[in-house]
Amino acid sequence: MRTYTDMRNPDNILDHAVNRGALFADVRVEAGRSCYVMMDDGVLSIENDADQGIGTRVLATANGGRRMWGFSSVSSERRRELERMVRTALACARAGSVLRKSDIELAPRPTRGKGLITYATPLTIHPSTLSVEYLVELVRAWDDILRGTPYLISRSISLNWTASSELLAIAENHSLQKFFQNVCYIEVEGRVTVKRKGEVQTRSFRFGATGGFEFIHALNVTDHCKRIRSEVIQLLSAPECREENLTVILLPQFLGLITHEWGHGLEGDRPKQIGHEINYYGTSILGNPNILPRIGSFRAASPEVTILATATLPGGYGTAGFDHEGIVAKQEHPLILSGRWVGLMLSREMVPRLNQLIGRPYFVGSNGMTRAEAYDRIPLIRMSNTKTLPGTASTDELIASVRRGLIIDGPVYSWSMGFDRSSFSFGAEMAREIRNGKLGGVVRNVGIMGDTLGFWKSCAAMGREVEIYNEPNCGKGQPCQAVSTGHSTPPGLFHGVHIINRKNIHEGRNSHVG
């Protein structure tokens, strides 16, 4: 892990930007290391990565233009390269400035004094202290379990960690604020694919956390390898699911991704009157002009549903000390509160824009959801973590409440969302029937689809046994930026969910809407 003094002092870069006309400037210096140990169909591979670089973002105007963002990055630390980076960022801002109809305004940022604000992922065993030999030994032992799967055609197991150091410095209103953090992620992922009589089934797991290697020690990966080896064989001989509307219990590793995808609809740059992602990733139905002003009272889910945005979730992939606008992570921000839509994920820029569209000063400041994938990307509004509040029922009690339905476990096999997030389609690896309150047999090739708001309004209960679903590859932006997000999720009970068979597309053809 880097220390603050290891990292290049950004003061000169900021001075250079301000002296050349930047109205605002920030600098991110980043250095990262990662290690992947993988066995893919028995082939062991190890990858050790190191990367570092510097990016700067400025607000500037051209003659007759409006305040506009410009961003540039370099991998080099040479002085002339850094100066060129600043000039390029300013040139970008000035070029874009004449294409703006209004100034980019920023909501105020809480000031924190002049001291350095620091954060480090809490951990006990930093994975970089472990030998490659040890990691290989673990992965090889897990692979030995997967290798014994009958009807096996493909298998993979991987263990990886990433440690990054970030220095953020912001020059604004004649003041300078600096932030420094070390963040560490660890993840293990396994998969088996089997084939019999033309039927191919896959079962997998992926678990990770911000933290140290103690997370892996506590996980018992061996048991998960044995579990998926057993479950994938059950899937081979399981009956196909039928297309119908059913009550479902979605377990956290499945519901977590659904929450994640819905979370994109709660990003503050997605409203249709803002349209930052309209050219590719899409918009949000909650940003419809007839819905947006109703934030605070609009019914977006059943009263059982409360979803918070937070960068403070222990173990969550989106957990950090501050976002890339220097908003310190310190609290949870309601997005859906007992079914009412009350919040959005925000950047400083979006706060005044959204208040204007809402027609009242609804938001008072950014809630710290602005991040970039790396030093070479401009920050965007990104999910950090979501936290869906649990209910009181155990999973067994949820099952007991279902006369006929399915219980669906993650990870999700396939996923797809409508352009404005108003609809979804998710495929499952694993599902079991529930009959008369008891668990039945495995069914295969289950998928669910439907309208997002209707789905969340059909939630009858949340369970109490919470897990964190962490997503390491969440894409957004052009070019794509992949960031890590976390989702603290309980099991959820939903009525009337439309079940599809993800393999047989013609089942239920021309059936009427129920």
Binding site: L44, S75, E133, R377, Q478, P479, N510
Partner: protein
């Protein structure tokens, strides 16, 4: 980016460091410079210029290997990292599938690049993009415009302990435009157009605007029709725009023509012999990096010359693409598609032979109800072995019948199809146009798709996506 000679000297230094550590080595260097302006609803919101670069090493001793990636800007820590990783090699068991180092080819196809115009000094000049966006802003038809205009130059080099040294640069650019209009009730209609090229001269801003306005006008003029008529789903003939074909092909090829998946039984093509029929005879699809309009990738991550691979020839299965490790595992020959790891060999320069139809003539000859799909959003394969494809429609979905445009299908539709059943029912193709990877690309070579519009007879199921 480094000057060529400086870069090759650095790579030679890395090879020396690897030799000092008692290993053989291959090094790949990749760098891009990308300049972008993005706009939303008539005004710019991002302008940026970025230059990531990285050295990717494979250290090897016998049949043991370890991959190490180093910052492209600094080799300050290279010696320590190489020594540290070289020491770790002793813990690894030999991998029988590790491909051998590539020798310097006697004939380098890179010479073809002398034919490509080098980007001028102002290739990345934002002013060029500003002028394009100013033209967008002048569109005064009740539609708001959003878009992206990017220019990218790349620099790639491969060097190894056997003396291989290959170097390659390329440049490409793209411009996309989404016209949108909010309607009462909050519904938003969008129309989209995209153009790409290897040089600025290949982009015609006026024609991108004309294309998007033509699509937008259709959304203004046609009535809304009830395609599903109260049903949950309906199978129909369909005309897929080149954008929709790109999205479909991109998703399907990735998981069907990758040699490792074919060999291990996961692909739709597993167990199928070369020459068997998998599509309509109209469909010929080739992976061909030399085809005009393709972002040319003459060699793979290991320095092997990329082959031209017939994927589908007049409806018959040609062959899959192999990375070197998967090829060795399957006792096949690499097709020069290695991305550095097992299973990485996928088609990236995809050319579909066009047909004689125009988009208008496809419409004119569509007597039966036919859905015109302008775009496909968020594609996925829901069952890979059967290549079951699913995505939502976007940017305007229309109904054509009796050879005429009948109306707009405003209901959000989810497309589901078994992709190769659909390919067997292709009955019309237009001329093909070049499109780069879906628009979230950047920072690496984009896959290129030279694709036509396709008409497909009754193989696509359209569902109410919010049912």
């Amino acid at each position: 980016m480094w000057a060529k000679e400086e870069l090759l000297a650095k790579m030679a230094r890395i090879i020396d460091l690897a030799h000092e550590a008692g290993t053989k080595c291959e090094v790949l260097f990749m760098a891009t410079k990308e300049n972008n302006i993005r706009s939303a609803l008539g005004e710019a919101h991002q302008a940026f210029d970025i230059e990531p670069m990285q050295f990717c090493l494979r250290l090897r001793r016998g049949n043991r290997y370890i991959n190490v990636n180093l910052p492209g800007s600094s080799l300050r820590e290279a010696r320590r990292l190489i020594q540290q990783n070289a020491a770790a090699l002793e813990y690894l068991e030999p991998t029988e599938y590790l491909p051998g180092l590539v020798s310097q080819p006697q004939r380098l196809p890179e010479v073809i690049y002398e034919l490509q115009e080098s980007p001028s000094q102002d290739f990345h000049d934002p002013e060029w993009k500003v002028r394009a966006f100013q033209k967008f802003q002048k569109i005064n038809s009740g539609w708001e415009t959003s878009g992206r205009f990017y220019t990218i130059t790349t620099q790639t080099a491969v060097m190894n302990s056997l003396g291989l040294a290959r170097y390659h640069t390329t440049s490409y650019c793209g411009i996309s435009l989404t016209a949108s209009k909010l309607r009462r009730g909050g519904q938003q209609r969008t129309a989209y157009a995209y153009q790409c090229g290897l040089s600025p001269q290949e982009l015609d801003v006026g024609s991108v605007i004309a294309e998007v306005l033509e699509r937008a006008a259709r959304l203004d003029e046609l009535p809304v029709v009830d395609f599903l008529r109260g049903k949950l789903s309906r199978e129909s003939d369909a005309i897929l725009s080149p954008y929709a074909v790109r999205t479909l092909i991109q998703e399907v090829l990735r998981l069907t023509f990758t040699g490792h998946l074919v060999e291990n039984g996961e692909s739709f093509l597993s167990g199928k012999r070369s020459g068997c029929r998998i599509a309509n005879r109209r469909l010929t699809m080739t992976d061909d990096w030399k085809f005009p309009g393709v972002v040319r990738v003459p060699f793979d991550f290991e320095g092997r010359t990329r082959q031209r691979v017939p994927l589908i020839e007049q409806g018959h299965f040609g062959r899959p693409t192999f990375d070197s490790m998967a090829a060795k595992m399957a006792k096949r020959r690499s097709t020069g598609h290695s991305g550095g790891e097992l299973g990485s060999g996928r088609p990236e320069c995809v050319v579909i032979d066009g047909g004689a139809y125009t988009h208008d003539s496809l419409v004119a000859q569509s007597d039966q109800p036919t859905v015109v799909v302008s775009g496909l959003h968020y594609p996925t394969l829901t069952y890979e072995k059967k290549a079951v494809f699913s995505a939502d429609t976007n940017h305007g979905t229309f109904l054509v019948e009796g050879g005429k445009w009948r109306g707009i299908i405003e209901t959000p539709l989810r497309v589901r199809m078994k992709a190769f059943d659909a390919f067997k029912r292709i009955d019309g193709l237009t001329g093909a146009v070049p499109l780069f990877d879906d628009e979230d690309d950047g920072m690496e070579f984009p896959a290129t798709y030279i694709v036509p519009s396709m008409r497909i007879r009754s193989a696509i199921s359209f569902l109410h996506s919010a049912s």
